[in-house]
Point group: C2
Chain length 93, copies 2
Amino acid sequence: MLDLLANKWSALAIGALEAGPLRFGQLRRLLEGISPKVLSHTLKRLEAEDLITRTVYAEVPARVEYALTDLGTSASIPLKQLRDWVEASVGVA
Amino acid sequence: MLDLLANKWSALAIGALEAGPLRFGQLRRLLEGISPKVLSHTLKRLEAEDLITRTVYAEVPARVEYALTDLGTSASIPLKQLRDWVEASVGVA
DNA sequence: CAGTATCCAAAAGGATACTG
DNA sequence: CAGTATCCTTTTGGATACTG
């Protein structure tokens, strides 16, 4: 589990989902530089750890939304603090 | 920088140093399972990012101590919260 | 749109042996 | 004691093309 959160993309993806559910393409744009393969794998790992849910809406075109679970929401708190620290320390360093 | 903290061993090493300076061998025992090579590399990266200091004492046998810098200490706060979350969530999951 | 497949490079991790 | 050297495996990341 620590292995999972101790991952740049996982931490950023959870951060992106803090404000609400997002679709694959939206996540891809928010997480600049991530390739579809890596994003896909990252989301699967997060889903396997029960940090996010994957919901498919039977529409045309298909819509898939990713959202934080309660566990994921609880994880987002310390993760946000870590991201905030990084951002703050950039100015220092 | 996020890449650095987003790393299992880095996060654990900083946690180990929270209580005070430690020597290489002490860190090695505390971070169970880490190999000397990986520990060495981890410490070098942390030192390069100015999160820890490496001090060599001219004794026989040689003594080398690693300690958190102010920056490292400030990083240890969010990292500890993350580790605490992981520990708490283990019981839940 | 939401991925998967393929190929590949780079980084991280791990075991073990050896050295100043 | 405090590492470094070597070898090898696993993980992660990244580009690009393709599909249900």
